[in-house]
Amino acid sequence: MASLKRSVDSDPLAANISNKIYVRSTKSGKVQKIVREVYLRQDIPCSSKLCQRCLVCAPKDASGKPTPFVLSDSPAGTKVFPQGHYLVPDTNAFLTAMDLFEQDSAFYDVIVLQIVLEELRNRSLPLYNRLVSLTKSEDKRFYVFFNEFRLETHVPRLEGETVNDRNDRAVRKAVAWYGEHLARIKEKDAPAIVMLSNDRDNLKKAKQEGINACSLADYVRQLKDGEKLLDMIPETQDQDQIKEKRPGDNLYPEYFTMSKMMTGVKNNLLHQGIFNVSPYNYLEGSIRVPAFPKALLVLGRENINRAVDGDLVVVEVLPKDQWKEPSIQVIEEDAITKNENPDAEESDDFVSEKERKALQEEVKRTHSKTTEGHAQPTAKVVGVIKRNWRQYVGHIDQSSVSQSAQQGRKQDSVFVIPMDKKIPKIRLRTRQVSELLGKRILVTIDAWDRSSRHPSGHFVRSLGELETKAAETEALLLEYDVQYRPFPKTVLDCLPKEGHDWKVPQSMEDPGWKDRQDLRDLLICSIDPIGCQDIDDALHSRPLPNGNFEVGVHIADVSHFVKPGNAMDAEASIRGTTVYLVDKRIDMLPMLLGTDLCSLKPYVERYAFSVVWEMTPDADVVGSRFTKSVIKSREAFSYEQAQLRVDDSSQQDDLTKSIRTLLALSKKLKQKRLDAGALSLSSPEVKVQMESETSDPIDVKTKVHLDTMSLVEEFMLLANTSVARRIYEAFPQTAILRRHGAPPKTNFDELANQLKVKRGLDLSVESSRALADSLDRCVDEKEPFFNTLVRIMATRCMMSAEYFCSGTQAYPEFRHYGLASEIYTHFTSPIRRYADLMAHRQLAAAIEYEAIHPSTRSRGKLEAVCKNINVRHRNAQLAGRASIAYYVGQALRGKATEEDGFVMKIFSNGFVVLVPRFGIESLIRLRDLAEVEPQAEFDAENYVLQTSGSREVKVELFQKVRVRVTDQKDETTGKRGVKMELVRTC
């Protein structure tokens, strides 16, 4: 019987065929054996410019030209390899030190083996993406060599060999092959092929086989200026040695296995969610899980178990006797762990004495409680599904630096305090302590071992001196993941060729005029903040013969310039929104569009997308239509100018009259909205005034509200609502809408109780209407700001609004709680928000102006877009606020002022004061009150903190206090911040 198996003897080509067998587990739980035949070939080029032979088999493009080779013909040399060298890193090298490969100073001419690339993809997708973008960059000269398909470098797996060993062997084989291959070709010295690996076994075998191989650290030392780069090699490589430490030293409980967690989550015994750290207490986290309406608390280092803010974790609920209340104490990491020594592995005392003391307070409080009902369910983290580690901005904790380290250049451990208070401090090993002190630096977390109290990380780069504008701004942008790099060329190529000379075509025959209405004769004007360059919207109104009014809102026609699917669209969808900082604007679209071609500038013709209503004098909408149009704005007003013009009764021209009409209508619209239950919420808003020349902050002003602001706002809301209805009607499954969920009632529990106890006020939260009414009743005769304070606090109990795709929610869920509107979207700011651009495209399709692009119709795509812009939107807000806070601090620099403040939150060892004048809030600790920390009695039921001893004050919630505001540079942390001191209570 002839065998059916493929045999080597019978088939002359058998040597060219290999196979790969593995087990694939699918998401649905299927387990399959997969067999892949691998056809080996010899025409995969080495891609070295030195090599002539491979040119023959290089892949050719359509015109028959071979693709250019990647690796340089004169690669850089090192001390050990003066003739030049190509690098072949193994998977581990990329896993541990991707930052190194992204350096500009070294790491050129790298051969990325296919096996390494594939392994990297399995291990870490983000790192894989970074490597892929490196291979695409032309100047780094990274070449992906398909070693698995080249006959000479293919390595069949030996019997009993582990996958890792086999892959290591494949890497060595490829290195050896490259060496031979290049040696045969050149008459002069061929470059050395150097394998980079941190695996000692692999290095040893390489040495035996006579291959050049280096560990990362050894290699970096050979480089010029290598000392600096050494810091970027993460600490984990030393783990091999450290690992042999006593095994009993683990400080943290072990994580569950992935399958155990998944089973638990499926059966609802464990819960999965995003871990959030409390901003006031680094030892307290919370996690929202779908199974419970209220978040679960995670208290203490051991229960948090190495979770970092933002990680996707799995938790297990603790038994009821361990349920606790959320803390009433401020626990700050810098303060409590200030004097820790980063070198010592403080294993004997894992939960430090001070932390323990802080927890004791908690216990005391829970025990003294008569009512048990307040305790909240707690949980402990049993595993991390996905780390959300990113690069963190921080600075070195001065107190963690030993004296010797400041001089020598030996490697030293220091702590880095991240800017984000929710991130624990990171242990960093560096040789450049003295250089990095007092600088903003970027670090990443590499690992958090069970045996280590703090996560360990490595240095990425320095942003510059603390408190320099450039460093702080970049830090801010990095921290909020804002894409601030200049637009790449591919994006700029999408701009109109005419550049700034682009004009609306004169001839009505031009395709640009197709289906466009000519509205150039209307008296249109725009009203925006002072100095606004990206004018999204303009308005007009005119009386109609029947006594009604025609009102038009005209929005910049961005979708005319940004076509779906091109590079500019892709870039905009990633950026999601324009970010406004105090001194800087990070645009979503290139300047040319944002501030010129799309911007509805006065006196020039521009394309617009218009929403035109017919309204009765009572502001009831009789009819509405949508059209693409061409407009010519008559004037660009600032809010102030418009207000002056309206108030000046001598102005009786048509334009002013039309603004007056708009104003009158807007007031009626607003009233209707409020009647429907729209909330008027509040957040402390201030404006930083800049010195016009140096753009240094000189003063802080609270924003003044003008009628003209709500004029614009009302019509924008109306336009957004009208458009939302229209696109939902046209695309019930895929319309891009914006919703604001009704907040769970429990969110208001705390605030309602505070109001009841302190002021005897009732907060009813049954509906937005009830809430709006009860907020209106929250007034204090003597203190006009009290109402705003309550509104600010109420705002913080709300959910955040979000974009969504209409198919993902049921119609009742579309509701916008804050605006009390059934349906809502964003349409009016396409220059600065990507959602609006999508709404424009959908509306254009709905009115049959153009065919809908597939990407604007695919629900999966839209959901991904929504998810991204929700995150970007939130980050942009946070970045903006952080920027204001920083500049407020700078404006106060060297000044001390006394201001009125209000107590917003009260802890057993401090309280938070909001100063409306500067829109800042800050914590005043008990120990700040007097030289010797006064004793304090905290009445949690009544929100009263009574101090005694060195200083006697009684602080209550909502109380008006007088504080001295100064800026202060914290010596230990090197951070400048606003500091408040209590002058007296009022």
Binding site: M1, Y22, K30, T257
Partner: protein, 385 residues
């Protein structure tokens, strides 16, 4: 197909065959001894996409391949579904639950943990004979409790095996022995992905196929297979003789034909106690412990063969002496069958097999160091790694 196609032999030929098989020792048409199997060649691992596969070629030209595919399936549970895995129950109660409830689940749902299909060229897959073959083969597998236990992953999941049994030559003889042996080899070569998760978690497997263990585990040092899947042997009795692995023609004159499934009882039997070894001749130390798993009588085609006519009754020989009654004239055959057996005249067997014959057949199969042992030894020689 009743055991085999209709045999095109005349009554005289049948009679000749029958009598030569009834001799002591019998003389078989192909010269084999009564206990001798047809020579075969075998190989495993012919289908790379399967979890296990095998192919056997008999010397008479019949050939079969078997592929085994495995899928993870959720175990249906009859009792309260709330009793899902918890940390505590996992640690404390597992033993108890496994003994109590676990057995129940093994008893209930597991006959559908194996799906076995047989394909014979020229026959529909719902043909009664094909179904019967499949039934006989799966019956043997299921009767061996140890086999089903191997498919259990944990309390919530099990492997479902799909056995595809294909005869790829025309059915020149009754294919049962061939199919059974091929299935046996395929199961020996079957590997299942290595389980990485623990306890009653959702199963999670190693993606390295080289690490996948065999369904029938090997001794790590000797590479010997401790336990083996069952084998179904075809045995027939002619006169006083017991003949193994009958050919098509031999089957056509069988008095009784039996399909006997046996299992290797080395490990599992021992734990169950000594009494179960009653079938085994304990005096005979060579060979292995065998256990009987199932017996099926196969309806031999001999029952449908036309009877021969004795010269005495044949009018063509001029014996018209009998004055026939009307009834006898209408049913001459009926009369003849009732007549005594005549030497050299073929008479199809009638009636059931005698208990004593059945007993002898089974005894012969199970005897230590007998045919079954030989067959298993021969199969052991096939490289299944």
């Amino acid at each position: 197909m009743t055991s085999s196609q209709q045999v095109l032999l005349s009554p005289a030929e049948l009679s000749y065959l029958h009598s030569s098989l009834s001799l002591t020792p019998p003389i078989r048409p192909d010269g084999r001894s009564p206990t001798q199997y047809r020579p075969l060649s075998a190989e495993t691992g012919i289908l790379p996409g399967t979890n296990g596969s095998a192919r056997i070629c008999f010397a008479d030209g019949t050939e079969a391949i078997v592929g085994v595919k495995a899928e993870v399936e959720k175990t249906k549970r009859k009792w309260d579904d709330d009793a899902v895995y918890t940390e505590n129950s996992h640690n404390d109660d597992e033993e108890q639950q496994q003994d109590g409830r676990g057995e129940a689940s093994n008893g209930n749902g597991n006959s559908d943990w194996v799906e076995l299909t047989v394909e014979i060229p020229g026959y529909r897959d719902d043909d009664p004979s094909t179904v019967f073959l499949a039934q006989m083969l799966s019956e043997a597998l299921l009767a061996d409790g140890g086999f089903i236990k191997k498919l259990r992953i944990n309390r919530r999941f099990h492997w479902k095996l799909y056995l595809d049994i294909l005869l790829i030559s025309p059915p020149l003889s009754y294919p049962l022995p061939l199919l059974s042996l091929t299935t046996h080899l395929a199961l020996l070569a079957t590997r299942l992905p290595r389980l990485k998760s623990e306890g009653d978690e959702d199963p999670f497997f190693d993606d390295d196929w080289a690490a996948a263990p065999y369904l029938y585990s090997r001794n790590p040092t000797t590479k010997r297979i401790a336990e083996r899947p069952p084998v179904t042997l075809l045995v027939m009795a002619v006169g006083g003789n017991i003949i193994f692995d009958p050919s098509k023609e031999e089957l056509a004159v069988a008095d009784v034909a039996l399909a006997v499934s046996i299992g290797d009882a080395t490990t599992s039997q021992r734990s169950q106690g000594e009494d179960d070894r009653m079938d085994v001749d304990s005096g005979n130390s060579g060979g292995r412990n065998l256990k009987l798993l199932s017996i099926r009588t196969v309806d031999p085609p001999s029952r449908l063969t036309p009877p021969g006519v004795a010269n005495a009754a044949n009018s063509a020989y001029g014996h018209a002496q009998v004055v026939n009654t009307g009834a006898n004239q209408k049913m001459p055959e009926a009369r003849q069958t009732e007549s005594e057996a005549v030497e050299g005249v073929w008479k199809p067997p009638r009636g059931g097999a005698k208990a004593i014959v059945m007993g002898a057949l089974v005894q012969k199969v199970l005897v230590r160091g007998g045919v079954a042992d030989e067959v298993l030894d021969a199969l052991e020689g096939v490289d299944t790694s």
